[in-house]
Symmetry: C2
């Protein structure tokens, strides 16, 4: 199988990831941060090691300001709901994933206002449009670092400068960029950074986290046992405990730490170089395929290794099914949990096919995929238009 | 090492648990419920298999009413905060874990009332005291199935009858009982059942869930991508998607499914029989140790395989440290994230040592632990009273 779905979750994982998980479950399987015995302390060290690796990668001074969550979506919910109060105003973009737009939608029903800044048809945003949206009650900018549909990279550095100038908090969804392109909370002026563990960090599912800037106070999303200050009726103030109620996913986090070490060893730059070579190769080849329309920015440096496209006149879902069943290419066809992005691109009705490439893909796979798409493009469109067979486009 | 800390997380795990995780991460590593390709669908099937195993175990008609969470604490937060609204009244017990009391405490600041029904010194509750606490605005009873400190099993059947008679919802914390003693949502009249995956089900950390009774509507704790109805501005109505935003822990859930199959194969009754034999053996031996005071019910059938105790005159934390460092016995000394329970027992200041036994413990280990405790008991108390060295009692 050719796996072009790493924007959903990266696969395969480096072997050391599951080896680290196996080691944890077999030898360090106690509950970290709970009991005082040696295996529990050892489990706590495994979790803290992952925190330190993340801090080093994101240029975070205090690793304890990183809290682990089930996934990036939980981290975004904690950031957005933990920060915004009734009467507050937030600014976001028209290229966001539902993990940003849905929490904002819910808060909107509770007195929080928000403005969606319209992006261009390639997914790019004008920083001055963000600035124009600022109002007296604006508290924060919530924005993806890169679109999960087009791979369009947002100008975080400039957005961070505006946030700083206007005294706003910057919440960043790094679901598509953590481990893929450089994220530096210090130089980018990021106050809250949500990231998944199972995409660009090569960790397993069940891992993600949120960085919370020094001095920033958030309302927790969940309360419960923290293994510390248990006598308090509410949550302890100390981080990470305040935001890590209940047993953390130590086995998954052990795998995440191994993934982070793999990333560090291989080097994010050389991984990115390989992935962008594949992306360039695909984009070049796609131009030769009749009716294949690619969305997103023309410039490679404005992209993550994600390319969304359609074949004119052909149902996106059925093309996705053919890629899977005839050519054994795993990709994602549909709305990608980002209806706003599709509305921005003008592809809400039609949907798109998304290929997302990883370090483990090869030039040969790109060549095969291009030939496969050329074959599909050559088939008369009426064979790709039976909507009753189109099952994969609502998601 | 002798591991007597299975009430925190069970260890060891059956080998098939990590083998199932390895299989998932190596061969079924796609994101379940997102893309339409075969590996993603296969990953979805793994997750659904765990749902079906749980439904069968808990006597739940529709597996889709079970939603996966990071842990039981998240499930309790979802149940309690999803159900209760300002002006509502809830009834709980004085033996609860912070995963119940802290969410209620937070809601109390937002206009939700609650009554803590006092339990007896052995942790037992009088059902008529629950009934007496019911008011006109009472919406639910939130109660643990068994105390994580004393193992005291609550009379859920009778409590369920009262809830039914009075039209209240019954929220149950099965952190200590799921997989340990029978839980039947139908005969017990449970509306919301929170459970961990990594204790009595032998799954890995990062797994837990909530059963939501048919027709019961809850406000989600988190919103985001669900892989379904992506065009909606808010969460879809359909379960489990409504409460499973973001990538689920498919790798962990694959391990949980293997743990559930282990449980089914070995048989919960024979596991319980073994665990209670160990508990009985320990309780019998403990009577012979001078100064060893056990808390909790006298009757074995009123217990889970959890025994908390102290050695008169000796600091609990230092006894715990000696057990770990001198005798290589891993246990939990402290407040066990359940300060109310300790206040009920009268052990809030002193704390307790908790031994929690599992299917993988042996009679030999019980014998060794009893001899170890007898040795510690024989040491003059002043050697166990340096509070500066006592690090393990706040949790």
């Amino acid at each position: 199988m050719i796996y072009f779905d790493s924007a959903a979750t990266s696969w395969p994982k480096p072997p050391e990831v599951w080896k680290a998980m196996e080691h944890c479950i077999k030898n360090v399987g106690a509950n970290p941060g709970r009991s005082g015995h040696r295996m529990a302390l050892e489990a706590g060290k495994l979790v803290d090691e992952a925190r330190e690796l993340l801090a080093s990668l994101f240029n975070i001074r205090n690793p304890d300001r990183i809290v682990f969550t089930l996934n990036a979506t939980e981290a975004l919910n904690l950031a957005i709901k933990g920060l915004l109060k009734p009467g507050d105003h937030a600014i976001t973009s028209s290229m966001e994933h539902n993990s940003v737009t849905r929490p904002l939608h819910i808060l909107n029903g509770k007195g929080v206002e928000f403005t969606k800044v319209n992006c261009a048809k390639d997914g790019t945003i004008k920083v001055r449009d963000i600035e124009s949206a600022i109002k007296a009650n604006t508290v924060c900018i919530v924005i993806t670092h890169a679109s999960n549909v087009t791979g369009t990279v947002m100008p975080l550095g400039e957005i961070g400068q505006i946030a700083k100038k206007k005294g706003l908090r910057l919440i960043v969804d790094a679901a598509q960029t953590a481990g893929v392109i450089n994220v530096d909370v210090s130089t980018m002026g990021i106050h809250l950074l949500a990231f998944p563990g199972h995409k660009g960090f090569y960790g397993p599912t069940g891992t993600g986290g949120l960085y919370i800037d020094d001095g920033l106070e958030l309302a927790p999303l969940k309360e419960g046992g923290t293994g510390s200050n248990s006598e308090l009726p509410g949550q302890p103030e100390v981080l990470p405990d305040r935001f890590e109620s209940g047993t953390v996913n130590s086995v998954g986090i052990a795998g995440l730490a191994a993934g982070l070490k793999f990333l560090r060893r291989e080097g994010m730059e050389s991984i990115r170089q390989h992935e962008m070579e594949l992306t360039q190769r695909f984009l070049n080849g796609a131009k030769e395929i009749k009716g294949l329309v690619v969305y997103g920015p023309d410039e490679l440096y404005e992209r993550t290794p994600v390319v969304s496209f359609n074949l004119e006149g052909k149902s996106t879902g059925l093309v996705g099914t053919a890629l899977d069943q005839t050519y054994n290419i795993a990709c994602r066809a549909g709305l990608h949990c980002a209806p706003d992005a599709h509305k921005t691109l003008g592809t809400f009705a039609q949907r798109l096919i998304r290929f997302s490439f990883s370090y483990f893909n090869s030039k040969k796979e790109i060549g095969f995929a291009l030939r496969s798409l050329a074959e599909i493009a050559a088939i008369p469109s009426e064979k790709f238009n039976d909507q009753d067979k189109d099952k994969s486009c609502g998601c």
